[in-house]
Structure formats: structure tokens, C-alpha cells
């Protein structure tokens, strides 16, 4: 029996002939590890970049967004479980080569290709090949991920990814173990590595009532961010909606999100956003220097943008970190 060990994610699944990894989409076939989802796209949409969410990347641009089935985590609150927790043959797929994806992005005037919705790590080879072609075509790559990945594949990926929104689901390892079937440390390492590699990183923390919504949890999370990647990495607090295996919990009260934002601001994080709550001012960007409103958002629509292509506040000239042209 030829056994293989997958080295893509920290689960390092050891697979006997015919067995699939925990992600459901990598298979030991005759002693070779095969990806079952290369070019098998189960979701493709043109989204505003604000939906990823990325608030400091080419505001109001379009992201050609793709996903395949599969995920290496199994979060009980998953919003896209219909594709992430399925085997590849259970989803409705379209065959799209990397060339097809880049051509579609170009034809639809998308400035970025986003690898998103499920967990792009599990379609790593497809993402890498597409990202390489995208760069050749002058299109940037966006990675929306939980970043539960080994160091070596991440190193290679960082050369191709321009911007990433990374989930930091909690600052407690028990939460990752019990709610997501993963672990915290590899995610923290990946965040630090991505930032140090020059990938533009924004973080998302989904606040789930009773599970990770205490002041202590949020304070510790913010302190880790400030201490390890700095105050200029934007943080998005996202609202939980009852879903998948956590339908028994209520949606996150807006007050909890506002309190989380206040804690993050008090911990000196410069750019703190609230997501999944229409109509809140916490979706806007404010200049940390002159305190003025510099990007006004209504949902995913950008109503006002006072950040110049040079990445400076039009009002005071303060440098706003991000990708602006």
C-alpha cells in the first residue's frame, strides 16, 4: 500500500490508497496525491472588492471571484457550508482552466481575481497557476482565507498574492479546536508571514454570541494584532447569522460589534470596520491623522473616496496604507 502525507496544511493527512484528505478534495490515487478540484469551479461571480471585505484595496473595483468545493476546516458557523463542506462531485461545477479565469476577468473589466467563498488553500495548485497567469495579464490576486496552511506552500503563495483577507476567528486555541476543528498557532504564523512578505493583509473576526464575544477575548485579539503585525492592519468585525450547525444561536447584536470596535480603537488599531451591518458608519474609513471621513461606504457601494492614487489622505496628506492604484 503506497501511503502519502499531504504537506499543504497543518493537518498533514496521511492517506492510504483511495483515501481523501480531511478537506475531501485531495486524494491518494495509485500512490500519487491528486487534486480533485483543479479547474472545477463551483462558484464564480463578479463582486465589489468591498465584499471580500477589503477596504484598503482599489475601492469600488471589481473582483472576479471563484471557488471550488472543499475546506480544511469545519467551522460550525460556516456561511458557505453548501460548497465548503461538500465533496467535489456533490457540487455543480464548471470546467474553467486558469486561462479561462484570467480571460473572463479581463473581459469583465475586473482588476483583481479573488480566490474566495470556500477555502482556496484546498485548490492551491489551481490558485497558483491562475495567479501566475493573472500577474502576466496585469491582474492582481486576492486571497480570502482562514490561513490554516503550512509555511512552505504559504511562502510560494505570498509571491503571487497581492492582498489577503485573513480570518482570525478567535484568539483562543480551544475555539479553533472545538468550533473549527483546527488550531490557532498556524493561523497566527501565517498572518505574520503574509504581512512580512509584503502581502497587503486585512483581518476579519466573526463575532459569535457566547463563543468569542467577551471583552477579554476581543482585547486579547487586538493586543495580539498590535504586538505582531501592527496598528495599520485593518480589522473587520463581522456579524454572525445563525447558520449551519449553530442555528441555535442568535445573530450578533449590533451593540456587541460596536463595543468590539471601541475596544479595538482603544487598543490603537487605526482602521476598524464592522461588517454585515448595513447603514453603519463603521463601514467608513477615517484618516487616523486628521480624523476626517476619507472613504464613505453604503453597503458595498463607495459614495466618497478622498484617498488619492498616491495613497494619501486628500485632506491632510497622511499616508493611508493599502493598494490604491
Amino acid at each position: 500500500m503506497s501511503k502519502v502525507e499531504c504537506l499543504l496544511c497543518p493537518k498533514r493527512c496521511e492517506l492510504v490508497e483511495g483515501q481523501r484528505g480531511d478537506c475531501k478534495v485531495r486524494l491518494n490515487l495509485e500512490g500519487k496525491l491528486k487534486t480533485l478540484v483543479y479547474g472545477k469551479v463551483c462558484a464564480a461571480h463578479i463582486d465589489p472588492i468591498e465584499k471580500k471585505p477589503l477596504s484598503h484595496v482599489l475601492p469600488s473595483s471589481r473582483a472576479f471571484s471563484i471557488a471550488t468545493a472543499g475546506c480544511n476546516l469545519h467551522c460550525k458557523f460556516c456561511q458557505n457550508w453548501q460548497i465548503s463542506q461538500r465533496e467535489a462531485e456533490e457540487t455543480e461545477n464548471h470546467d474553467l482552466s486558469p486561462e479561462d479565469v484570467v480571460n473572463l476577468a479581463r473581459r469583465n473589466k475586473c482588476e483583481t481575481i479573488a480566490y474566495t467563498y470556500s477555502e482556496p488553500i484546498v485548490f492551491y495548485e489551481y490558485m497558483v497557476d491562475t495567479a501566475r497567469l493573472a500577474h502576466q495579464a496585469g491582474i492582481r490576486n486576492v486571497w480570502v482565507t482562514a490561513a490554516f496552511i503550512e509555511a512552505k506552500p504559504l511562502d510560494e503563495l505570498c509571491n503571487l498574492i497581492d492582498a489577503a483577507n485573513i480570518d482570525l476567528k478567535s484568539i483562543r486555541d480551544e475555539y479553533y479546536a472545538d468550533i473549527c476543528y483546527g488550531s490557532l498557532k498556524p493561523v497566527q504564523d501565517a498572518i505574520v508571514k503574509a504581512v512580512k512578505s509584503g502581502v497587503w493583509v486585512e483581518l476579519t473576526n466573526l463575532i459569535v454570541p457566547t463563543l468569542n464575544d467577551s471583552d477579554e477575548d476581543i482585547t486579547d485579539l487586538c493586543r495580539w494584532i498590535v504586538g505582531n503585525v501592527g496598528v495599520d492592519v485593518p480589522l473587520h468585525f463581522s456579524r454572525f447569522h445563525p447558520m449551519y450547525q449553530l442555528e441555535n444561536l442568535p445573530a450578533t447584536p449590533v451593540g456587541t460589534l460596536i463595543r468590539a470596535r471601541e475596544i479595538a480603537v482603544a487598543e490603537s488599531i487605526n482602521y476598524v470596520y464592522i461588517g454585515n451591518v448595513p447603514g453603519t458608519e463603521a463601514g467608513n474609513t477615517y484618516c487616523p491623522n486628521c480624523k476626517s471621513l476619507i472613504i464613505e461606504r453604503q453597503g458595498y457601494y463607495v459614495a466618497l473616496n478622498r484617498v488619492g492614487q498616491d495613497g494619501r489622505c486628500n485632506l491632510c496628506g497622511h499616508k493611508i496604507p493599502g493598494i490604491w492604484k
Binding site: V4, E5, L8, K34, T35, E89, V128, P153
Partner: protein, 60 residues
């Protein structure tokens, strides 16, 4: 006039039907039943030939 009772067959009819049946059975090996491919089998037949990039073979 046919003196056959309703619903009964003559000896000749019985023999013809039996011969047809035997002939049919003898033909079966030439027409094997085609099993319909499952969705999973069809999917696996059509996966790309791309090998995963980060793995190692284990001894034993």
C-alpha cells in the same frame, strides 16, 4: 373450429414459446447489461491530471 379452451395453449405453442425463451437466454452473453456509471465515478474519470504540489510518499 378451434377447440382450445380460453387461456390454454396447444402443445405446439408451448414448444415454440419454450424454444424462443431458451434462444433468448443463449443470446444474453452477447448483450451484457451496461451498468450506469455513478456520478462519483464519472467525476473521478474527468479529474485533471494535475498532481498535488505539496506531499510526500511514506515508506511501508
Amino acid at each position: 373450429m378451434d377447440n382450445k379452451k380460453a387461456g390454454s395453449m396447444t402443445r405446439r405453442e408451448v414448444l415454440v414459446k419454450a424454444a424462443v425463451g431458451v434462444f433468448g437466454i443463449l443470446l444474453l452473453p452477447f448483450f451484457p447489461r451496461v451498468r450506469k456509471e455513478t456520478k462519483r465515478e464519472e467525476f473521478l474519470r474527468n479529474i485533471s491530471d494535475v498532481e498535488a504540489s505539496h506531499y510526500k510518499r511514506l515508506a511501508g
